[in-house]
Chain length 248, copies 8
């Protein structure tokens, strides 16, 4: 709708050829609808129970507390990731419902009831050292309203353990695979299930692991076709992504 | 075959309702069924129209032709990726229906009718130089039975072009973003849509692009939460992954 | 301006409290001004003599020729970078004015008169092997309407050669330094001039040069404070950037 | 002193208008002047209000205090970057005017009045975690005599926030973009403004961020043409560079 | 249990020599046996004196203690690698026999007698700084039941020291070479012995050593043919591998 | 000649049982014998049927032919690796028995009968694209006198194929695992067999495979304990190593 | 020309012993002399027989020929490195004395007699594949006037070959060690001689050799103390450096 | 001990001038002498004042003290590098003459008079942050018996400071250049002096400096021909190397 069209419309209003309500309708979504910014801006809030998210790393304790304080005014659920225990204590003081997952380093505040999905996300992890990433993913998926099942310590070095849990993994709508070291678990599971697999390389390991590069490259080069990858140790991103898919 | 079924079988043996040879036959393939290997083995074929896939790179023309020849006996659809024109010509000789996508370097053979999805996959690309990857993804998604929409040349350097196509992108059930250079498109789209975004870094660029590392790292570090990543130039993997999601 | 305000405005139009022209003015820049897209879209074309740019690498000869063909309809100047001689020949057939810089791999077409700047850009290069990048930068800066001076073969291994040209370099409004190998020239010049220095690392060298990484890292770590860096071999980007600064 | 001036001097010697000692004195610092070394040496001091700069990292508290002590004798303004609080306290003891920016880790001492520019530098940052780099850039730009505007938390994941501030960004003479993670903000802004953009990758992020490499490569490969890059976390360098451009 | 054994079992059922419940019990773990999973699962325990292994890094003190507690119930020998002194103290409290190797960071518990091999593993190390890795390998090889000989401080910079010990090295059935810095020792020994050489790069060194990459690449590129490599600092892996070979 | 033998010799000198010249002769080659240089020098030749090895890459056709010509005079078996077909043709002209493995790029000449081992080496490969490395390993292992079994196309994406061949793999005395892409096969097999596993990463793959780095890192970080690694695509080295172990 | 000389000159002017024009001429090149630039500029030519050097890589055949043509006018010796045979042929046409080293890719032209050093440079190489680098170093050292001895094929995998040549190596005044793959030779020789060792890593190898990085890192991390390193394949640089030392 | 000496010895045995035990003792270290190992072994001690060297990093305080204790028995001079203050204190207790260089982290013990060279080593450094490496090099060069001159803070960003010291630098027999950041100083000096230049990259810098890689690559790629490089921060290695050259 360009200048001339608007002029014509305004003249039609003036001349009563069109009533105000109709003109309004034509004009009202002009600024945003065309670009869709309103949707962007609000797409989180308009869903019941969607949390506000704070990435706490690199913030001071005071900053985290203040952000939570402000968020509490909106009465939403809140998820803080990469939070230290000190941050949690500061939040706890202003919000008794706050909970802390020590391994996952998450703060969660539940203000609204959430509708939980029927289908579930399976979080599968190679070893117990991957638990911090598993827990971050778990807390994220939960507060986003998903049913979640954890399957831990099924690394490929003892592949029979994995097979024992295969039915649970196959029952999920989307699978998160968390693995460090050589990250082979993603490929093996990718070859065994017919669901989207989101692979999270972890920095677990040493030496030529290079802080997770080894698992990252493994997963990117997976010979199994349904595997996509998120950043090293990014349990949050995997769960957020899985949640979108689980709710499709 | 579970515990109860084995018990029944053993009782039948005991009561001479079934002879030992027959019982043996029923038991001997037990290990695979219980572990679900039959499912694995067959999970592709049991779906109508699922193609057989050949990764042609690193194979000789003769090898590709022979594999296709064998696959034709199974009457399935066929997808060959990273195929040279010479490979295509060899395949064409034994299979007139074979088609070649020159940019995408794919050979496709359609033997079976496919049921096409209602929902669609959007393949969004930053520049025309990313077209080879786009076309590989396109052909893959099509032969897997998906409705696909391509949105090309909407790189972030002229972001208004992207906004003009936002409705089409948002209408998709899953979005594939193909971008080289700095790969910023994945983050921008990830912030604008509420669907799973599968990012494909391409090797398009030069210098500090390092054959796609630049875009790969960008996408892995995306500040937008719904983005997952596949290997550099891996249009096939992105489309395969998107297809699984699109059919959920 | 929200829904209610627009309604009030429309009512004022209807009731003749405000005339159409005034209402139009209030409405007209609504969609774009807020976001500025019109400016984006047109900011290149509205300047006299600004060229259309084609990055030819990764495009076919036919694609390049077709893009040029289309551009010629708009009667603008044209710059094609990373163009092969074959591409140039194809362009030459449809456009006699087309010129080719063999070293710089640029195609230029001049359709419009350009206003040339008074101040100049100095392009300083370490060695003769850096000439392809120098020429790309030179052609870019010229067609963008800049006065340009080239100072070649003044690498730091024979620093007296550099000092002999120092006055010319210092006379520029902005300096482009092109250097491969260890890229030390950028730091040395950065310490000698008080103008913005745009450093272009080149892939000239071998071994631990790693295709330009050596010079790139050198320049990024320059101990001289006025140096910024563009991608390896990116003569175009440096010149484009320099042109913006030269015209401030 | 050029050829003609030397000739005049020699004639004055010949004609006894000047004695040999005086002529000798005038000639003996010739080498430096001709090569411009004096200019180099003094080019900072001859501008009113230009600060002395100390890079404090890797220095001891005592060293920093002693350098400041010496600088104070010259009555210039002083900027210390990467300074710890302990360093500041030591400086504070000998200089009451010293100020400390905790986030930016800068010490500033203002001894001289500065003339502030009319045009301004915009410092745009993706997230709050980039603030330390923003503040280093801010303090540097300020003490170099620039008008500065900060635009924070406009990362591409919520691109509408960026558009809301576009006019401010476009009003600047030069734009500094500070971003970590995937650094996409530089490309997006580079496509939206027609001013020189100096991109500062930050080490904000984790995993495949590799201490800022991800953002660095992104920015070097920016598909937008007016972007140049400085070292990771180098707020000082960006501001110094921007200041030179802002004062052109 | 193979086909013939199942047939015999079924006949016993038929002939009432065994009742259904007993037969069921024998059959129900069939799937694993046939695939060899039982072997995997149990292959450690069935060998006298084979230890249980705990990789302690990334586990809490409590977790390590609890795992040991559980393992003690099985009366096996135990090896904990990458264990801190604090972990050892916690283990010591529940198990007096526990021993700690301070350099090697290993906890060992000996509950069963081990049969020691006649042939021996030689662990050869370049310098005293490589001792932590040597000790980890040593403790691992010992608790796996191997005779082990250590040859320390025979780096190539003083090659005569190596030659003085050549007979001992050549007498081994398998040789572990531990070296940091440039890791040249592996190649030199690989050229002097006719036994399998397992090379362990260590992170000993600085600068361009890059945490062991230098030695790792050296060893992977060894011009001597009998050398294979394990992860940086992976003394455990080398010893485990050597033990398998030593017991062939 | 050890200490005691020298003592005896000296006594013989003393007692005139041997004259000084003879004693001198016996002593003068002492340094080499004691240090085992003679052994080194000859340790290959003294074993029946051990081949001479030529690494042909980087040599001219003439050089390869001349080296073979010389080797033929010693009547040994010969193995040439990384040989082009042109090299083979040149060798064929001077040696009719020469054979060429096109995939493995090996030239073999059999002059001597070899004693073949009873135990066998299993060469297991993930995909058909890994065949060149498999064949290099196969030809090397064969000419070194080993019984060899190849198990191809058992990649982890279809893990049931691997299980079908597990008995063959487990029957080997040493296992070579050849895999590109993410190299997960090494870990999976490492967890399933109790034999030394020598992993060969291949450069098969693309993008973030980085010419085999992905598989290399995977294998070095294998969570299975009996895995050691050789250089990328180093089929020769793996087989040489396996041969030493197979003959222990 | 120092202070005293200028004083004398000025007095001569004053006393009319020399006219102003002559004095001016003597003074005008003063800046360069004092700073030693003349020395720099001419330091090569003033030594008898020092060659002019052309780095031919990245130059066209015509450029190389033209540079040689110009150099011939100065009657100096000439060294062209990284020259193709085509370049040589073009040079040969204008200069019959030109010689070409096919392996070393050098063009040499001898116009002047050279004084050859008494002491010699030893060039020691690990394998025959390193010969191109050896020859580049050899030709460079020769035309710079050095006595040179080559010791080839003494890699550490057969260390007795090295010992057989140790006296020759120890007799040199400076040793160049050329080695690819793991580059261990530099450390071994560094530990055996008491002379400066200049190590040249070569790109010989494959896989994790990464084009010479493996040998480069090895050499930089050498545990032997007298080793310094030049760029990968930089035979010229090593020889130039060795020549300076050999002539001290 | 050569052939003639052995002959004499044998004759002495024969003639009972020496008994068998004594002869045996003289012979038993023969192997080493003949191969020149004695020279290696002892080549340090036989020179007056040559120090014993301890690389203290990665050693415990007790280990360092014990090594020094043992060395003191040999009455040599001692150099400990990378020593902590705690180590020094422990050494001081057993050796009052021990001195500590806090910046250089060296312990030196002077037991023997050293003959100091006439020619000197110049250690040139870019910035004050490079001082720790300068001091390590300085202490090493001194205790090795060299005259040493330090030239500090002459980085290329203010190149006139370098020229002011050029005569001192040119007067040296060998030049050590210590520089971090972009390491350009090595190239500039390499172009200005005609002496061997040993470049030491330092880890001084941040961001894309990558712990010294930036300077390392710069120096390896130096366009000046007489530059060789040692490991990052390896002041000891540079000085050791320079000392060998200085004493030629």
């Amino acid at each position: 709708m360009d200048k001339d069209e608007i002029k014509i419309l305004l003249n039609e209003v003036k001349e009563n050829k069109i009533n105000v309500e109709e003109a309004l309708k034509k004009l009202e979504d002009l600024p945003f609808k065309d670009l869709g910014f309103a949707k962007i801006d609000n797409h989180r809030e308009i869903r019941v129970g969607y949390p506000e998210v704070i990435y706490c790393a690199g913030k001071t304790v005071a900053q985290v507390r203040d952000i939570v304080k402000f968020m509490l005014t909106k009465n939403n659920n809140i998820l803080g990731t990469r939070a230290t225990e000190e941050m949690f204590n500061a939040v706890k003081e202003i919000c008794l419902e706050a909970e802390y997952n020590e391994l996952g380093k998450t703060i969660t505040v539940r203000k609204k009831e959430q509708q939980i999905t029927d289908s579930y996300i399976a979080i599968v992890a190679a070893g117990t050292s991957d638990l911090p990433v598993v827990e971050e993913a778990y807390e994220t998926a939960k507060i986003l309203g998903n049913k979640v099942v954890k399957v831990i310590d099924v690394g490929v070095a003892g592949i029979h353990r994995l097979f024992a849990k295969l039915d649970i993994i196959r029952g999920a709508k989307v699978v998160i695979v968390v693995a460090g070291m050589e990250g082979a678990l993603a490929s093996v599971i990718g070859g065994l299930v017919n669901k989207p697999v989101i692979a999270v390389p972890t920095s677990v390991g040493y030496g030529a692991n290079f802080g997770g590069i080894s698992a990252l490259l493994s997963m990117l080069n997976s010979c199994a076709s349904g595997v996509s990858v998120v950043n090293i140790d990014n349990g949050f991103g995997a769960a957020y992504n899985a949640s979108i898919i689980n709710k499709l």
